[in-house]
């Protein structure tokens, strides 16, 4: 009985295509933000980012004759940006997804784009124009943890996405923070729990660094890469007090992906090569 339900659930399209799973999860967070965190006043920003992102993707889809399927990547980038990217200038709302998605087609090496489009979409406006920011505290920490862990469980259960990267990254941060904050400095355990249940950190871990196109191809390299991002985030947070450290760590780690791909040989990830799960 239970196995038949499981196989039925497995047949659901969102578990057949990891991108659909990501779109579903990210849209749910958006709904959570709008209905529970009163993001009503943010709706113009959210809609502008989403439409600019989808139009940019359509533009490249038509211009480069990409498969129709690529709308999904554009949607994921735009949803990610609408959840993370803040600016008081509406022009930036357009620029962030345009820059992020365009980078996929301009900055490439060996059939892969180098930078995570959502990551670059956030970083570039901050660096170039200064008129943008990320609000790491916007999620609170109540409902997030439970939902993210169920997302992780679903991802593991249905073998979607690159959960190895997420878990390695989170584990690295957890271990380092545990030894520094709890063991050495002497904060209580709930200090650590509060840190780890930050919505932006979890969003980053499960839905940004898991992008298969900007992670190293070989699984060993991926683990190494995720540990590196974790260590860099930890250093940037603990000694440079960067509240958005993981975003910067991923940005700086992008070139490392190119190097790791050279050392660890593996096939380049293709969305279309995913075979439907056996039911």
């Amino acid at each position: 009985m239970s196995t038949s339900i499981l196989s039925l659930v497995k047949k659901h399209p969102i578990f057949q295509d990891p991108r659909l799973f990501q779109i579903t999860a990210l849209s749910s967070f958006l709904a959570y933000g709008v209905f529970n965190l009163d993001w009503i006043t943010d709706l113009p920003r959210i809609f502008t980012i989403l439409s600019a992102g989808i139009f940019t993707q359509l533009f490249f889809m038509v211009g480069l004759r990409l498969p129709f399927d690529s709308w999904k990547s554009g949607a994921i980038t735009s949803l990610g940006l609408s959840l993370l990217f803040q600016s008081s200038t509406p022009l930036m709302w357009i620029l962030a997804p345009v820059l992020g998605i365009s980078s996929k087609y301009f900055i490439r090496t060996k059939g892969k784009h180098v930078f995570n489009p959502a990551n670059l979409g956030v970083i570039l406006p901050i660096v170039l124009f200064g008129d943008a920011w990320i609000s790491p505290g916007q999620w609170g920490s109540s409902a997030m943890l439970l939902f993210f862990f169920s997302s992780a469980a679903l991802m593991v259960l249905f073998r979607v996405g690159r959960i190895d990267t997420s878990l390695t990254f989170l584990l690295t941060i957890l271990v380092l923070e545990y030894f520094r904050s709890v063991v050495y400095l002497g904060w209580e355990f709930d200090w650590l729990f509060h840190k780890m249940s930050n919505g932006s950190l979890l969003l980053f871990a499960f839905f940004m660094i898991t992008d298969p196109r900007t992670t190293p191809n070989a699984s060993g390299a991926r683990i190494l890469w995720a540990v590196g991002i974790g260590v860099l985030s930890f250093v940037l947070t603990s000694w440079f007090y960067l509240h958005t450290a993981p975003m910067w760590a991923l940005f700086f780690a992008a070139p490392a992906m190119v190097v790791l791909d050279k050392i660890f040989k593996a096939n380049v990830f293709q969305w279309t090569s995913i075979k439907p799960l056996q039911s």
């Binding site: 916007q138 439970l146 050495y184």
Partner: protein
Amino acid sequence: MKSLKLFILASAALLSGLQVNAFCGFYVARADAKLFNNKSEVILVRNGDKTTVTMSNDFQGDVKDFAMVVPVPTVLKENDIKVVDKSIFEKLNEYSAPRLVEYYDSPPCPVEIVTEDYEVYDMLDQNWPAFGNLTMSVADESNYRVNVEARYEVGEYEILILSAEESDGLRRWLTDHDYKIPENADEVLDPYIKSNMKFFVVKVNLHKLSGSSFEELSPIQLTYNSDRFMLPIRLGMANANGPQDMIVYTFTNQGRVECTNYRTVELPSNRNIPLFVEPQFGDFYKALYEKSWKQEGRNSVFLEYAWDVSPQQSVKCDPCVGPPPIANDLVKAGVDWLQNGWQGTAYFTRMHVRYERDKFPQDLQFQTTTNKERYQCRYILTHPASGDMSCEEGQKYLKELEQRRKRELDELAALTGWGVKNGNSYIKEFNNRLEDYEFSPVMTQEEDRGGIWTLLLSFLGISTLIMVIARAGKKRKLQSLPA
């Protein structure tokens, strides 16, 4: 390396067996003075990595029983420490406090001149906080592994800067120098010591104080450079009994300040409320704050005011509760970039946080954003029109008024949880102000906004939608295939 040093600022009051609450730490008191400190105020000015903190606590007790311990990132120089006039807190508070605004309907029937006017009420008359005093003797520090790094006299204060190697030593030093400290003080001192913090102890030089009242003591202002933009609240919870309130006034040259490790939430604003709330506006706001605080899970920071108050800006509030701070006030508060010619941006953010140990495991961390959007806590009273109502417009107006008053009562209940026992007569008796209203507070239950259900339902809804679309797509594909 200096910039890498962990900065934590906390004032500490060490007092045994008494209910002591303080903003960044706990007071140090030598005798069993009765202290009460539920609300504190602090001004934070941030420019690049330079921070100026002005601290004020509503310490109420005998001046000679008081001292304060403030962990700082480095051994501060004498000119990094200042005393400022306490009136700056009053000015900032009055100017940015939640406001009640009063409007008058113009008569519907054409008799009088159409007027629309408002009056403004200040929310709360906040008692002014001050520091106390303690004469402290510095004995041999060698046993404690505590060093006196510097010794200054600033204003009426004597300041010692201590460095400690372990919390037990610092605790013993304080105890042996006649301070009683809370039992669990070690635990909270430890993380700060290990982060290489210095502690400075503030006491009052009684000879320099003309009177003996704590009310005459000035707030202390510290300036330091640190990457870290935060306020420590953990020390203050060491011996706190219940939640504490803190008002944080911040100034930057970019835009709003927001908390990065807790949610920063705007309180409900611009709401129409019944006329009879006027004499109890203070209580109304307290109830509103409490309801929002519970609704947001007791672990959010609330925004009460956000506005560009640069000297060249003409509109600084709408309406103004108090006179807007002038450039000179801002410079006093630490906005030193306005010193030259008073040109430049000063963005004012007022936050209100109610914190307690189990909901706030971490110190408050902040960031400056470029968000210049204006915000104020503003509640609106509307007086009905008087005079002749016999014309068609007048009758229509009366019907609308009834509906409006219903909405006002609903709004009151939604904002504060207050029910009004005889609310019906307020709705009906539009011409007379209801004087003998009776509140029935119904706010007891903790409200759950059902966050996790929103998430789950959205997930299910969206995945169903995707399944339907995918199936429809498949069918179309099958149909288009040649038989």
